[in-house]
């Protein structure tokens, strides 16, 4: 009701202002400051021109012109935001909000702005936003800073998730908002929301820094949720991504990569695959030699006491890298690794013997460990509590159910689409001028006779 009444007032205002606009010349450009009148005319213009897509494009062009002038007036623009509706006049709202936040922001103002921005993000219209994606992204980044300023990262998580989905051209694109969102998830400790974003496969990246940060934060979220397999994948991506010179994100990721690899696989080889960039291959090891690679060496000996003394020695280093929690998990995974090794040698074993072999303190502790591992599905065993014997069993999975078949079938489908994408990329790469220049230079050393006629790849 009130909104309706306000609208008719605004309509009258529009008529009056349109008449007045005919008398006033074009809104002043960059250098002069903007008077309140001009801001009002701008507001009415926004209201008038947000109807059809053509109007919106014209409005966009106009808004670009007055953008600089608006930023100068950032402090006084806040009340005008109430006059326009974020879902219909999204583009105008965006520009005004952007101008409001461009100046320095105090804590009280930040709290207010956070509320306004989250409402805006949830209700804005996607088509209008996509006309000015950089502005939207910049504003969201400032929103994240404000949320951190008022120390309530949880409040930024949901709006940023919505913002990411609205700005993305498709689910395969990586935007600059992805790492910001993941960072907020990490700070707010809501890992599950972060995981939902990590489900998408990324194929298009515009800024390499976005990719590094995205994979790094994503890896950390997966570690938080104990999905070590996926964390390993993401951290591996950071470490092997093409880079002309080493960067700090890759170094940190490499350290975590080493630790997660120890937890998940029980081993870590410092070598990098051949598709890693040569600068990474040469330099990463040097940065992480002390103490991470030595930790891996100590781990491979299998002696827990040595491992623990080593961890104690380098405790400050681990702490300064914020990796101490992960290192503690590495130590506890050593016990698991040793128990698993026992399953390969013995069919039954008493709890006391397990405790002795694995260097645990008592049979009770051994029982706790074994029980935990059975629950996690890491070993298959039954504990006979009467005589304290553990009987190790085979994996009961027969892979005969239709669920398994469905999984394989869907994997095959995914692999087929991936294969098509890879073939396309391969063809594009073959036409790349840089590649042709270098390949052409190398080829002259070979005769025609050196090429045999067998095809190098079988097309399915």
């Amino acid at each position: 009701m009130e909104a309706g009444k306000r609208k008719t007032e605004e309509e009258q205002q529009t008529l009056v202002d349109r008449k007045r606009k005919a008398e006033i010349s074009e809104p002043p450009t960059t250098t002069t400051t903007v008077t309140m009148n001009a801001v009002e005319t701008l507001v009415t213009q926004i209201q008038g021109l947000s109807g059809s897509p053509n109007d919106v494009v014209a409005l966009h062009a106009h808004l670009n012109k007055v953008d600089e002038a608006l930023r100068g007036e950032s402090a006084r623009l806040l009340p005008f935001l109430d006059q326009i509706d974020p879902s219909i006049h999204s583009l105008g709202y965006l520009y005004l909000l952007d101008a409001c936040t461009s100046g320095p922001v105090s804590k009280e103002l930040a709290a207010n702005l956070v509320l306004i921005t989250s409402r805006f993000i949830t209700s804005c219209s996607t088509e209008q936003i996509r006309l000015a994606p950089e502005k939207f992204t910049g504003m969201c980044k400032r929103f994240k800073d404000q949320v951190l300023l008022i120390e309530a990262p949880m409040r930024g998580v949901a709006p940023l998730l919505v913002a990411v989905r609205k700005v993305q051209p498709s689910s395969e694109h990586l935007t600059s908002l992805h790492p910001d969102f993941l960072q907020l998830c990490l700070l707010a400790k809501c890992y599950k929301t972060g995981l939902s974003l990590l489900e998408d496969d990324i194929f298009e990246v515009t800024q390499p820094r976005d990719l590094f940060l995205y994979c790094y934060y994503g890896g950390m979220i997966c570690i938080g949720q104990k999905h070590f397999q996926k964390a390993l994948e993401l951290l591996h991506n950071v470490v092997t991504a093409p880079m002309t010179s080493i960067n700090a994100i890759a170094v940190e990721a490499y350290k975590k990569y080493a630790l997660v690899s120890l937890i998940d696989n029980g081993q870590f080889s410092p070598g990098l695959p051949k598709y890693a960039s040569s600068s990474a291959q040469r330099n990463l090891k040097n940065f992480c030699q002390q103490p991470y690679i030595e930790l891996a060496n100590t781990y491979s000996t299998g002696k827990i006491a040595e491992l623990e003394t080593f961890v104690q020695k380098h405790r400050e280093k681990f702490e300064s890298d914020n990796n101490l929690g992960l290192v503690k998990q590495v130590v506890s995974s050593m016990y698991k690794r040793n128990i698993q090794r026992l399953t390969q040698t013995y069919l039954t074993l008493s709890l006391q013997d397990i405790a002795n072999t694995v260097q645990l303190n008592s049979a009770k502790e051994a029982e706790m460990h074994v029980l935990q591992m059975i629950q996690d599905g890491e070993i298959f065993a039954t504990i006979n509590q009467k005589d304290g014997m553990v009987r190790f069993l085979e994996d009961p999975e027969q892979y005969k159910s239709s669920g398994v078949i469905e999984r394989i079938d869907s994997s095959i489908q995914r692999l087929m689409t991936l294969s098509k994408k890879l073939t396309n990329m391969d063809e594009q790469m073959s036409c790349d001028s840089l590649y042709l220049a270098k390949a052409g230079r190398e080829r002259q050393r070979f005769d025609f006779d050196d090429f045999d006629s067998v095809p190098q790849k079988f097309n399915m």
Binding site: T244, Y275, I405, I408, I412, L415, D426, D432, K438, K457
Partner: protein, 317 residues
């Protein structure tokens, strides 16, 4: 022109004749300049745009053996049609006849062939001209228009008979039935030709793919027929079609013959084998993908890595 023949002759046609005629037609059509579009296209457009010419008619002679009431057509050869005299090239025909006589002494000129959709009046001239070689020649007509819906061969055999029409005795063409007679050599070659280009499209480059394609088309046909039956039964259930008990009895006997084994063990074994096959396909796809990926990475490294190793290109396998 159509009614069935009353002469009581049985015709046996060899596949070689049909392959010859279609080969002749295809050759002439592809050598025409400008190239002729398919006959179905020219039928729908009429002669409106003028560019596609009507498909050419080819002519030739058929030879074979007549034993009593059985006429067996073994072979054929091509003849030129002289539109000036409106007859076939007689000199060439005689020469060819002589040559064939040396190799196959039993064969006689039994008639002639042509392509087209239906027999025409002008054909009667040619037919009559041949009557001095053979008193009652046969006319084999091949319809080159490809009709996917048609299940039987587009070949018709006509005989000539004297009928009284409007008081005037006239020779007209009458349709005759025929059977296909195959010699072992012909069966092999027809099989070979049939598998050169599978009707479903896609290249069956390897034997395995050809085998799987044939299984796939068989299953597809089975599926479509079951779907028809199902649709019919549903309609019967709804009451749109009156009940037909004999059909229902057949369907129920068919259903009772289904699955012979429905036990736990069968299910297990079947699923295990199914998942094994799927895993092998998965592995094959993986290998293919890895090989593509490997090539891509090599190219990327050559192009963009500043200090890449200068290795030569080696074969993947």
């Amino acid at each position: 022109m159509a009614s069935s023949s009353s002469s009581g002759l049985t015709f046996k046609l060899h596949p070689l004749v049909m392959v010859n005629i279609s080969d002749h037609y295809t050759r002439v059509k592809s050598q025409m300049n400008p190239p002729v579009t398919s006959t179905s296209c020219s039928n729908t457009n009429g002669n409106g745009n003028g560019a596609p010419a009507p498909p050419p008619r080819v002519y030739g002679c058929v030879i074979g053996v007549q034993r009593g009431r059985t006429v067996e057509i073994f072979n054929s050869f091509e003849l030129l049609y002289d539109s000036a005299t409106d007859s076939l090239d007689r000199a060439f025909l005689l020469k060819k006849q002589e040559l064939y006589k040396k190799v196959f002494p039993n064969f006689y000129v039994l008639g002639w062939y042509s392509t087209g959709s239906d027999a025409e009046e002008s054909d009667m001239h040619i037919h009559k001209a041949l009557m001095d070689i053979n008193e009652s020649p046969v006319y084999v007509l091949l319809n080159p228009a490809i009709n996917h819906a048609q299940k039987d061969l587009p070949v018709t055999i006509y005989e000539s008979e004297m009928h009284v029409i409007d008081g005037i005795p006239q020779l007209i063409f009458v349709n005759s039935s025929y059977t296909i007679e195959t010699v072992e050599a012909e069966r092999i070659s027809v099989d070979h030709v049939a598998h050169l280009k599978p009707s479903d499209g896609g290249s069956a480059a390897t034997q395995l793919a050809a085998h799987l394609t044939s299984i796939h088309s068989a299953i597809k046909m089975l599926n479509s027929r079951i779907r028809v039956l199902h649709h019919y039964l549903v309609a019967m259930q709804k009451g749109e079609i009156p009940y037909e008990n004999s059909l229902l009895r057949q369907v129920s006997s068919l259903l009772r013959r289904l699955p012979a084994i429905e036990s736990e063990k069968f299910q297990d074994d079947f699923l295990m084998e199914y998942s094994d096959t799927l895993l092998i396909t998965y592995l094959a796809m993986f290998t293919n993908c890895s090989s593509t990926m490997n090539e891509l990475v090599e190219k990327f490294n050559t192009a963009y890595d500043r200090h890449s190793r200068r290795g030569g290109r080696t074969a993947f396998i």
